[in-house]
Symmetry: C2
Subunit: 465 residues, 2 copies
């Protein structure tokens, strides 16, 4: 039988994998090659349709390297400065190494006994992020597997605490009908969470946005009044920091004030934008975030760590425990220090050292450098927006608040799609498209601090011809 734990093979293959990834990083930094693999028709990708291979590869090392090469070649090239599509991080190498170590060691984090150092690292990282929000010692939270699960967990805590607190045990039918108010431009995970949590997507009320794509406060107030008049309880108001499509920050200060006034749970989806809190120059964008009852913050977006690493933070740390209320005798020992048994607070039971990849980046690079990285990506987006505004035949949706820029060429929707397809075929740039105000817009997100003015000029030129 093939030796599944062959240490010499691991050592040899490991060194070569490191070299391949380092070579790849250097090539991408030199803009050598495409920003993304060519989008092949499915019929051309028939090499992934065979049955499960029964026998080992004749040469294990060669097989590892061949498949790793293939993966490097044929995945999105996030480290290429021309890659500016979705809000997916170009991972910092130190962070990727930490993630590798966490995967290899694989310690479970549900209980302190098995987690120990991983649990302490996660709790310290949570504390750092809560400090950045401006919260005191009462705040707490945990890391979970992605922003969608994070938003779901935060709204779950809100749901369980609402009314008589019977939703968890007796089901949502034991409580009055509940609605969630959120920007009509919010990420789909909020609506999805309502579907998951048994509230029903129809009970997510999309609040109108203003010309700047920010939640309209008068509309929010009117929707809240209308819901209450219908006998519905406002379970939560969700502020986007920022929205996905346009990168707009909802007016968190005003929303927070309204929530305090009326006793609504205030959740901030800061999956993308909460990272501005680390930048003295851009933290004003998230002003008011400290008014939230709960916050979701993805480190695998603007903090450039490998996916997934989502912090869910609660202003009153105890609210975290409201999300899941349970015991498992084989796992959670009676009398244990439950603050350190993280499985009580996350949907995951098995969970690896999820915060280590962020924690190590802080330790090695320092928070100032991470904040400056976030700021740089925002600076660049403004630079691109200025180029668009100055270019004849282009229209800018909005001056960007975040590192996201929506724009279009003069012409119809079909033109935008055709232009994007042409740029994609050429391969030097990756950008995406979105629908806003009834029209299709081209859209970039600067997720790599190495993306520079020449890349923007090249992209606009490619869209011009």
């Amino acid at each position: 039988m093939s030796d599944l734990y062959d240490a010499p093979l691991f050592r040899t293959a490991g060194h070569q994998v490191v070299d391949r990834l380092a070579d790849h990083l250097e090539r991408m930094q030199a803009r050598d090659g495409r920003a993304h693999p060519a989008l092949q028709p499915l019929a051309a990708m028939q090499d992934f349709t065979g049955p499960m291979p029964a026998a080992p590869a004749p040469d294990a090392l060669a097989a590892v390297l061949r498949h790793v090469d293939d993966a490097i070649d044929r995945t999105m090239h996030l480290h290429h400065p021309g890659c500016m599509g979705h809000q997916v991080a170009a991972p910092m190498p130190v962070s990727a190494l930490a993630d590798f170590v966490a995967g290899f060691l694989n310690q479970g984090m549900a209980v302190f006994e098995t987690g120990q150092i991983g649990v302490l690292i996660e709790r310290q990282t949570v504390r750092w992020l809560a400090d950045a929000v401006g919260w005191g010692a009462e705040a707490d939270g945990m890391f979970t597997s992605g922003g969608s699960l994070g938003n779901t967990t935060a709204l779950l805590a809100a749901r369980n605490l609402a009314g008589d607190g019977r939703s968890w045990t007796d089901g949502v039918r034991a409580e009055a009908p509940m609605v969630v108010l959120v920007s009509e431009q919010a990420h789909y995970s909020i609506s999805r969470a309502a579907g998951v949590l048994g509230l029903g997507q129809a009970n997510v009320i999309g609040v109108k946005t203003d010309a700047d794509c920010r939640m309209d406060l008068a509309a929010l107030r009117a929707e809240a009044d209308a819901a209450e008049a219908r006998g519905q309880r406002v379970l939560a108001v969700v502020g986007s920091a920022c929205t996905t499509a346009a990168g707009a920050y909802d007016p968190l200060v005003d929303i927070g004030a309204l929530c305090r006034e009326r006793g609504y749970w205030f959740h901030v989806d800061g999956a993308h934008g909460a990272s501005v809190l680390l930048s003295p120059r851009y933290k004003h964008l998230a002003a008011g975030i400290a008014l939230a009852d709960s916050i979701v913050w993805d480190a695998h977006k603007l903090l450039s760590v490998p996916s997934l690493a989502t912090a869910v933070l609660f202003r009153r740390g105890g609210d975290n425990y409201a999300a899941f209320r349970q015991e498992a005798s084989y796992l959670f020992n009676e009398g244990a220090e439950t603050a350190f048994d993280l499985g009580l607070r996350t949907l995951e039971c098995t969970k690896r050292m999820l915060a280590f990849k962020l924690w190590l980046a802080f330790q090695v690079h320092g928070a100032d450098a991470l904040g400056e990285m976030v700021a740089t990506m925002h600076d660049r987006a403004r630079e691109f927006a200025a180029l668009v505004a100055a270019a004849p035949g282009f229209e800018l949706l909005l001056p960007p608040e975040s590192n996201i820029v929506c724009f279009r060429r003069d012409g119809d929707d079909a033109l935008q799609e055709a232009l994007r397809a042409r740029v994609m075929a050429a391969g030097a740039y990756y950008l995406v498209q979105t629908r806003l105000h009834g029209r299709i817009w081209l859209r970039i997100t600067v997720m790599n601090p190495a993306t520079a003015r020449a890349d923007f000029e090249g992209l606009l030129e490619a869209l011009q011809g």
Copy 2:
């Protein structure tokens, strides 16, 4: 500013991290050192309480290596043959390398355009697992972040399809009251899922188990009858394959037949045990699993890949889409080949190449070797059980079906706890404890095929003195 994307640093640090992990693996294989870090009092672990470091470490390489060394030293040593506690994998090195590559490249998998090779690899891996179940071309599924999320997703699909199918849009109050029937010894994630999904934990009915810790079929039938008589709809019956505490396989053939007869959704939580399907010698344990409507299968347990990698499989592939019903215009392009836009089927939006770590292990080692690894861990558990049965002063809970063995020394609960504490302090072995039939049992899970007879003899000796 610290260079966050320093390629030479990555190359140098990467090589040294590989060597450290390879050295660690060799030490563990030689049983050199403890099977787990000493459980330190929290007061002694004050090195994780400082504020966020603002400045970079003076020597980045030294900082990376110091913290990696610390992590290696102070995490659970899953590759040590004396570590036989929870159901957490000792990752295969090739799989850990694949996971490293996936983290570094970090491509998003929500849509085919960004995922491409990762999406194809995930779909091929899903096909392999569905084939192992014995399902045909109609079956489909995806990978998600853990068994708890997997069970929740499968039950969510069942919930959304139940009755008039109004739960997702209008909330669970739009449907008749629903209950879930499951072994009283099932993993807590089933009850947790009911809490999450708005059904209410009180509507999870724990079905009595027999002396072998398997769901009692007469009790299941009686509970189903009683629920229907109360006007409740049986949303799903969940079979455990196997249970967490005792490792018992519910009678899936009989449960499946009952579900077919009555039109109940049959979900099998095969998080731990579905991997026996790869072993000709042990696949009989999961007989009947093909009758399921949905199956959860964790590759990060018996298939020894780093956490997390959970396959959720649906007998009718289309049911997968019932779990989440939504659109996001910036993401899912109209007219796209939706079978390849995996974000439509997972709670996660951003998700990395989650299946690559399993897929590469299959490619390099072959399915036969993985199946033999699973079988070996089961063989070993039987060997340990035989030693326990033959040892004076010990009691075996059950002859093990899975790779989990529960046993105890003659004496009271306090003795079991004291014995475990003593063994833990010595450090050569890691085992856990659980409560079953009103008593505390010591419990091992053989998660490392290198765990051998000498380890078992040593453990029993340590428990004897």
